[in-house]
């Protein structure tokens, strides 16, 4: 049995009437890279804030290496957190930033300088190490943000949407860093709402929405949830109610409605032969359809089935 480095049990947190986390439970193995996938407002940032110790008034428990995470402040020295924001000093250069943030941990100065050089090489900022960070591009800043979270060689790294707002090349670079960190034995929890990122990076994926885990497993295990069904995405100028009324009249022979919103619907077909008939059914009822895509079973289909909405919602 794999030893769990992090165990979250029945974590609940509300902001007034709004439930951010509802009996959220999750385990993480040593050296495991877990992708936490959820739309905006799913509760990902609340979870990271609780784990970082900056958010209180919650119920449930979090144990790290078998100890209550919040009972011993020293345990925080073993956890690295990369927030969504570029939380560092833009007037300092990259080396100075790493030395400042590393200085908050009990790292001897010589070792800290060596670690800063290693990390700058890892995130490909070695050549720009002495330049003020305010002159960096968005991607470079994101890489520095990740490096700061790693300065004290954490055993657990929590990343909150580390690729927001950067170009594809920079995104790939950060995903590479995360994979490398995982390979070196650091456990990683990585929140995102980008399906492709977790597909490329994580050994295990957890889908969360409305403060709770809906499904978790490897990519293959999750895809099995929707079965070997073709997924049809229908887009157009229609309302959710109109689409639902029309599709109910259709005999799909095992067709499953994954999600319906205004202007878009997702349907899964166990018998792909029924797709042309479904299209004809929609056209005959004059449903204004602009686009129709047929996809193989993938993580998006799983997400749609579990949450009833797409990640863009």
């Amino acid at each position: 049995m794999q030893q769990h480095i992090l165990e979250i049990k029945n974590l609940s947190k509300s902001y007034g009437e709004t439930v951010a986390l509802a009996n959220f439970s999750l385990d993480l193995g040593k050296g495991e890279v877990l992708g936490l996938l959820g739309p905006n407002g799913a509760g990902k940032t609340t979870l990271i804030s609780i784990l970082s110790g900056t958010l209180r008034d919650f119920t449930g428990s979090v144990t790290f290496k078998g100890q209550d995470l919040f009972a011993d402040r020293g345990l925080k020295n073993l956890i690295g957190i990369v927030p969504q924001e570029m939380a560092f000093y833009e007037d300092l250069n990259a080396t100075e930033n790493l030395l400042f943030w590393g200085g908050l941990y009990a790292i001897p100065e010589k070792e800290l300088k060596k670690r800063a050089r290693e990390l700058l090489a890892l995130v490909e900022l070695g050549a720009r190490a002495r330049e003020p960070v305010k002159k960096f591009s968005g991607g470079m800043k994101r890489r520095l943000n990740v490096a700061i979270g790693l300065i004290h060689r954490p055993e657990l790294l929590l990343l909150d949407e580390p690729t927001v707002g950067i170009d594809v090349q920079a995104k790939m670079s950060i995903l590479d860093i995360i994979r490398n960190v995982g390979r070196e034995g650091t456990s990683v929890v990585f929140t995102t709402h980008q399906l492709s990122e977790v597909e490329q990076t994580c050994a295990r994926i957890a889908i969360m929405d409305r403060g709770t885990i809906l499904a978790q497993g490897t990519l293959a295990e999750l895809i099995r949830i929707v079965g070997e069904k073709e997924v049809v995405e229908v887009s157009g100028e229609f309302s959710a109610a109109a689409f639902s009324a029309i599709i109910q009249q259709f005999d799909g022979n095992g067709m499953e409605v994954l999600s319906v919103t205004d202007n878009q619907a997702h349907l899964a077909f166990a018998d792909p032969e029924r797709i042309p008939a479904m299209m004809q059914h929609l056209f005959q009822r004059h449903l204004p359809i602009a686009d129709l895509k047929i996809k193989s079973p993938n993580l998006e289909a799983v997400f749609l089935k579990m949450t009833g909405r797409s990640l863009r919602d």
Binding site: T54, R73, G74, N77, E85, M86, L104
Partner: protein
């Protein structure tokens, strides 16, 4: 403690690194000091204590007396005819010797230019008094002997008496200059302004960018984070003070009175401002608001507190109102220490009031200090 120092030191480093730092912290206050300092300065200065002796005496006693005025601190000019200009002049009358030989009463005139330096005047006054005492003592010792024999080459009565002058306890020996008021005043004003602006803006920016939250992601406690931010702002205030004190000592002969007590006054005042800046940075949401509030607060406190002019010259109601300003207590403390050479026994209530301000501002800062929006 190490983490508090680590956090505080960085804030100081970021302030010093600001491109406009030397303008705001050195050049701008120096311009104020020059304007106000010269405004309050006397038009003439006479640091060497020059004394002109107009010796009109027909005998030998006038010259003998004038010789006794020679001393290291005096620039003596003995003349036979009155010059057109002088700072201070002692007039030895034509019948000076005659009256001594007759043991008659003497009257010497001492004339001063009203604009002449008071400190140098005090030195001249003392030297004249010493010379008179010496001469009288010699005459008393000489008694009824032949006056003409007094000036014999080996007379045992010549230069017989030494007079040492000692001032009574608590006598103010240093006369304050205009700069002795202006430099502490501008120091207090700029400590307020710089600490509130730099300190307030950096707290606000660190909160908005979640830098404060990220510091707490480490094992640093909220108390260490607050302590670090407080220390950073205290160091900002002390650096601003040190720059102006050094400039004052180097260029304006600043008199600090009891330097330790003046330093204690600066530390306690800077501590109050450090706490206030955290409060300002916690409750205000953008840079423009912080600059506006800080400039307004610092200038209002400076005017009420007597940073620009001594509070003694303002109406009593205005002076009473000034007590709401921490600057008032700091400036009054400086006045007591620098102008009147007072010690801790006099200024402790001021320091206590400043500590009370620091405590209230710290309580407010703690109440409103937020790590994120």
């Amino acid at each position: 403690m190490k983490k508090i120092w680590h956090i505080g030191r960085l804030d100081l480093k970021l302030m010093v690194r600001d491109r406009a730092f030397f303008f705001w912290v050195l050049l701008f206050p120096l311009a104020f000091i020059l304007i106000f300092g010269n405004l309050y300065q006397g038009s003439k200065t006479d640091a060497k204590a020059s004394l002109t002796v107009l010796n009109q005496d027909q005998g030998r006693w006038g010259a003998y007396f004038a010789e006794k005025l020679k001393a290291p601190g005096i620039e003596l000019a003995i003349v036979a005819t009155a010059p057109e200009t002088y700072l201070r002049m002692l007039v030895i009358p034509p019948d000076f010797s005659l009256k001594i030989e007759r043991k008659a009463a003497q009257e010497l005139q001492f004339r001063k230019d009203s604009q002449a330096d008071l400190k140098a005047g005090a030195v001249a006054d003392t030297k004249i008094s010493q010379a008179i005492v010496k001469l009288l003592a010699e005459l008393i010792m000489y008694g009824n002997r032949d006056m003409k024999a007094f000036f014999a080459a080996r007379s045992p009565y010549r230069d017989l008496v030494q007079v040492r002058t000692r001032l009574p306890k608590d006598t103010i020996t240093k006369i304050p200059s205009g700069f002795d008021h202006t430099i502490p005043g501008i120091l207090v004003q700029f400590v307020m302004m710089m600490v509130l602006i730099y300190g307030g803006i950096s707290v606000m920016e660190d909160r908005k960018k979640r830098v404060l939250a990220r510091i707490l992601y480490s094992s640093a406690s909220p108390a260490e984070l607050f302590g670090g931010k407080f220390l950073g702002r205290l160091l900002m205030g002390l650096l601003q003070s040190a720059i102006l004190v050094v400039a004052g000592l180097l260029f304006f002969r600043l008199n600090l009175g009891n330097a330790w007590l003046s330093a204690l006054n600066i530390v306690v005042f800077a501590a109050a401002m450090a706490a206030l800046s955290i409060f300002v940075g916690s409750v205000l949401r953008n840079e423009e608001m912080i600059i506006g509030v800080s400039v307004l607060t610092a200038n209002m406190f400076a005017a009420l507190g007597g940073c620009w002019w001594p509070v003694e010259i303002v109406p009593p109601a205005f002076r009473a109102l000034g007590r709401i300003s921490p600057a008032y207590w700091a400036m009054d403390s400086f006045h007591q220490v620098i102008f009147f050479a007072k010690g801790l026994e006099t200024v402790w209530p001021n320091l206590l009031v400043l500590l009370a301000f620091a405590a209230v501002f710290t309580a407010l800062a703690l109440r409103y200090f937020k790590i994120s929006e």
